[in-house]
Symmetry: C2
Subunit: 658 residues, 2 copies
Amino acid sequence: MASDVQKVKPSRYIDGEFWELKDRLRKEIEDNDLFRQRFDITVDELRELTLKRAKFLLSLPQIRQQFADQLANKKGFISSSQAIGEVFSSVDMSVGVKMGVMAWLFGGAVMNLGSEQHVVKWFQPLKDLEFTGMFAMSEKGHGSNVRNILTEAHYDSNTQEFIITTPCEDAQKFYIGNALQGNYAAVFAQLIIGQESKGPHCFIVPIRDAEGNLYPGVSVTDMGLKEGLNGVDNGILHFTGARIPRENLLNRFADVSAEGVYTTSIPSHNARFNAMLAALVATRLALSNQATASMKVALEIAIRYAFKRVQFGPGEGPEVPIMHYQTHQLRLMPYLATCLAVTFANRYAADMLDDDFFHKRDLVDNRSIQALISGLKAYATWENLQCLQTCRECCGGMGYMSENRIAGLKQDCDVFVTFEGDNTVLYQQVVKELLAVFGQKLGDNRVLQTLSVLQQETAEYIKTSMFAVGTESVISASGMMKALSFREGRMLRKLAGRMLKKVGDGEEGFQAWNSCLHHTQALAKCHIQRVCLELFVAAVDRCPHQQEKDILNKFCLLYGTHALYTDRAWYLEHGYYTPANTKELRQQLLSLCAETCKHALFIVEAFHTPRISVHAPIAGVPSTKAPWAYYPEPGSENPLVAIDVDAIRRTTPLQSKL
Amino acid sequence: MASDVQKVKPSRYIDGEFWELKDRLRKEIEDNDLFRQRFDITVDELRELTLKRAKFLLSLPQIRQQFADQLANKKGFISSSQAIGEVFSSVDMSVGVKMGVMAWLFGGAVMNLGSEQHVVKWFQPLKDLEFTGMFAMSEKGHGSNVRNILTEAHYDSNTQEFIITTPCEDAQKFYIGNALQGNYAAVFAQLIIGQESKGPHCFIVPIRDAEGNLYPGVSVTDMGLKEGLNGVDNGILHFTGARIPRENLLNRFADVSAEGVYTTSIPSHNARFNAMLAALVATRLALSNQATASMKVALEIAIRYAFKRVQFGPGEGPEVPIMHYQTHQLRLMPYLATCLAVTFANRYAADMLDDDFFHKRDLVDNRSIQALISGLKAYATWENLQCLQTCRECCGGMGYMSENRIAGLKQDCDVFVTFEGDNTVLYQQVVKELLAVFGQKLGDNRVLQTLSVLQQETAEYIKTSMFAVGTESVISASGMMKALSFREGRMLRKLAGRMLKKVGDGEEGFQAWNSCLHHTQALAKCHIQRVCLELFVAAVDRCPHQQEKDILNKFCLLYGTHALYTDRAWYLEHGYYTPANTKELRQQLLSLCAETCKHALFIVEAFHTPRISVHAPIAGVPSTKAPWAYYPEPGSENPLVAIDVDAIRRTTPLQSKL
C-alpha cells in the first residue's frame, strides 16, 4: 500500500496558489549557469556574483510585474512576493536577503512610511534598477531596543535640510546590508528640532552616486567575513553632518514644515514609532518564508539520502536504508511536518496582510496579525536551524561536505534567529500582544476580573482533564487543538495574574516582566503552535485531492502529536493528561513517524524544488566537482524494503577517473 | 556579597592537575604570530598554515616528552595528552584534529595494535617528525558499520606481501584526514588468505614518499571544502593492488606466517575486531575533551559580552547588561555547569584509561569505561554544539561575525557529533554495554530473573516516590543522584524486559532492537548524566578551597537540576515526582541560574584560556582587523547592577579611523 501511495504524483496544492509564477521563475534559474552553486570563490567574488544574480532576477518580467502590482496596491502582492522569495532563497539565500534589502526593505520603508512623491522618487526607479537601497535601523548600541537609537537628524531651517550625525560609537549604523554597493539608505534617526527630540523617524539619505563615490558626511566600513550570507555586503554607516533636503523625511506619520514646525497624526512618540514598525511587518514574514524554503531544500536532501544510504541490517542479511531506523524517522519526520505547518501558516499570514494592505488598514491595530508574524518569524527560523542541524547529522560526514549544501544553508540561515527582531524579543512581543487583547476583553477593572477568571478556570480545567480527555481526545486533531488552546489560555491568564500580583505588590514593572520571561517564551511558542495546528487542519480540509489529503492529514496529526509530546511535562503537571495519555502520545508519535516516512518522498517531490537548488550529489544530483559524492538510486520500488545495495555496488565498475 | 566572591581569584583546581604543562604550552602560543586567528585565507593556505602549526607544536620539548612518556608507558600519559589537546584545540580546532590524526590516531594504531618492532619503526620516528601518518578506517559505504568494510588485503605467499585493493566504489577510504600530506596510513581491510576472509585487520600502507610522490597502486582524491575544519586535508584513498611487506600487518591480535598460516589469540572475528576497536578508545575520549575545550572558549566570549552589552532597562533609567535577563541566564548558565561537569568526567575517564594502560589490561574487558567514553563523546559533542549555538545567539549579530570566533567553532566542531562514531550509534553502544553488565548480574536464567526484577522494582518505585521524595530530596545533590540512578535503572530493566519479550515472541533481533531505539537513546543520555553528576559531586568534594568549593557546588546543583527539569516528564509519568516537586525544580532552576551567573566570570577566568584563543573583540580582546567590534569594560564593580553605559559611551570620543 505504501508503494501505491508512492506512485501518486503530488498535485500543486502544497506548492501553492502561485505555482505557475514559481514554475516560470524556476525555469529561469534551472539551467542558468549564473545560479550554479559556488563554494570555491572569495568573499569579493561572492558579493559580485550575488549582485549579478540579484540584478538578473530584478530584471525578469515577473519581478517587474511584481513592482507594478505593489505600486498599484493590487490585492495579493504580499502573497506573490512570498512565492518569489521562496524560489530565489532556495537557490541562493544571499540573493534572497540581498534583494530583500535592496528592493523590499528599502522600498517597503518608502512605500509604507512615505508619501506619494516619495514613492515616485524612490520606489519606482527601483524596478528599473536605476539604483539600489539599504535599510539602516540597527546601531552598534541598539539592535533590539531600536526606539533608543542614537543617530540624530537636526533640522536646519535656514537651509531647509536635515543634518544626519553619528554622535558616538554606539550610534554607528551596524550590520547594514548592501552598504558597500547601495546608493540610498532609509536611515532611522532621532528627529531633533531646536533642542527637542521628536523620537525616531525615517529619512532617505543618499550614500553614494552611480559611480560609487560616497557623498560628503558619509563613511562606510566593511564588516568583513561572517559565518554565512557572505554574498551580502554588510557594513557600518557613519555620518558626520550629512545634509539632506527636508523632503527626504518619510512623512506618512509626521512632517516638518519649512519653518521647522513639527506636525503628526500620532502625538505619542511610542505610538508613532509602533505604527512605523507595524507598517514594516511584511519583511518579517519574508524571513519566516525564507526559513521555510531552507527547510524544504535540506529535508529533501536528507530524506533522499536516507532512502539511498544503507548501513547495518538483520543478521547476515543485506543492509537497510538508514530511513528504516526508528531514530532516523523520529529525527526527520517531525521537521517535515513542521515544514508543512509553517508553509500553510506563512500563506495564511500573507493573505491576512494582503487583505489589510488592500483595505489600507493600519497594521498596528491588527494585534493578532502582529502576534502571528512575530511569532512565526521566531518559530520558523528556530525550527529551521534545528531542522538543518538534524539534516546535517542525519547525512553524517557527507552532510559536512560543502557540495552537499546543508552546511551552507546552516551558515546562511543562522543569523535569521537574531536579525530583524531577536527571537527572544519577538516572543515577548507576541505575549504583549496576547496580553493586550486579553486586557481589552477584561475591560477596566482588571485585577478583580483576572482573579475571577483564574477561579473560573479551575472548574474548566478539572472538567477538561477529568471528563473530556479520553483516548480519542489524545489522538485526534480536535483533541490536540483543544489541548494546545487550553495550555495557551491557561498560561496567558496565569501570566496576567502573576504580573498583576507582582506589580500590585510593588515590584517594578521591568523587573516583574523579567522574572516572567521563562513563562513568556513558553507561552509564545505554544500560541504559535496552536495557530499553526489550526491552519494546518484547515489546509488539510481544503485539499481537493483525496489521497493527498489523507497524506497531509497524517503529517498534520504528527505535527500536533510532536508538539504535545515535547511539552507533555506541562500537561502532566497540570493534570490535563494522565501518564496513560502521554504514553499513548508517545506510541502515536512513533507510529506516525513510521507511517509518514512512507510518504516523505511524495512530500519532497511536491515542493518542486529545482535540481539546481537541491544540488547535493548525495540527493542524487551529480556534480562534476565532487563525482565521488554521488549516490545512485538503489533501484527499489519500495524504498523501505531492505535491498542488497552492497551487492549492486560491488558489481558496479569503478569510474575511470579514479 | 556577589562582588565579594567576584574578587576571589580562582585557584588552579578547575584548570586541573596538569596546569603547569598547560601554562608552558599557552606561553608558546600566546604571543606567537603563527597562531593569530585567520579568517581571510584560502583553503590551500589554511592547510599549509595548519601543517606549519602542527609541526611547530610537535617540535616543542613538552610534546617530545609526551611521546617519550607514551613509549615508556609512563603512568598518566593519557591525562597529560588531554591537557595538551585542550590547549591546542582552544587556539585552533583544525590543528587539534590534524595532530590527532597524524600522530595519535596513526600512532595509537601502531602502539595498540602493533608489536615492539612496529613501534620502533613507525611510532618513534613520529616524534622526530620524520613522517606523518593517517588513519584509514571509514569507507564510502561503511562509516558506522566498519566491521563490513570492503577494502581487501590479499596475502601473496610468493612474495610475502599483502596486496591492498579497493574492489568497488563503496570500498574507497573516505574522509581520511592528512590524506593530501601524510606519508603512511593505518589501513583497515578484510584480510584474505586464499579465498578465505579473516575479518578486518590493520595494515601500515606507505602512501607517499618524503618528496610527496604517491607510491604505486595508491591514488588520492581531494574532498575539497567542508563546513569547517578546513585546515584538515580530507581525502579519498583508493588502492589498485598496492603491495606491502607481510610485516606491515599490525599483529598484536593476529598474525600471518611467511607461508600464509593465520594465527590469532582471539578466534572469533567479532571478538577480535571488538578488541581492536576497544584498544583505540583513547582517541574517542580526545574528542570529548576537544568539545569541552570549545565550550570553554565560546562560553567565555558569550559571558564576557553579556556583562558588557546593555539593552533595555527599567522605565527611563539606564539600560541593563543582557546577563541581567532571566532568559539569558537560563540559556547560558546550564551550559557553563555542563562544561564543568564534562571537564571532571573527562578527567576521570582519562585516569581510568591511564590505569588500564599502565597495568596493560585489555580495554575490551572494561565495560564501564567503554560505556563511559562512548557516552561522554556523544554527550559532550552534542552539548557542545547546542552550547555554541546558544552562545552565538546570545551574542546576536556580533556572534555571527567571524572575528568573534564562535561561528568558526561551530563550523569546526559540527562534525564531532558524527565522526569517530556517530553519536546515535555510540549511544546504542553505551546501552549494549549496560545490558551486558546487567546480563552478567542476572546470570543464566535471564527471562525469569528479569521479570522478577521488574516485579521487585514496582515495590521499590512506590517506596521511592511515595515516601522518600520530600522537598529535600528534590533540591539536594544526593536526591538528584538518586533520581537519575532510579531512572537509569528502571529504563535499563524495562529495556531488557522489552527486548526479552519481543525476541521471546519471535520478533527478529535487529527489528526488535530498532523498535527500542528511542528508548535506548534516552537511557544512554540518562546514564551519562548520572555518571557526570556523580563525578561532579566528587570533584566538588575534593576541591581544597572553600570559596571555590561553594561556587562549584552551586554549578553542580544547577547541572543536576537542569538535567532533571529537562526530563521531568518521565518522572511525572512514573509518579516519581509530583507536580509540586517539578514546580520546585523549576524554581530551583531559575534561582540557581540567577545565583551562578554572579560567579560566571570567576569560572571563565578559571579556564585560563589565553587571549589569543579567546580572540573575540566582543569579549574585550581588541582586533586590528575589526576595531569596531571591540566592547570596552563597562567599568562597574558589580556587573549585574544596572549602569548607564550609554552615558559613558556617548561621551567616548570617536576613534579617528572613522
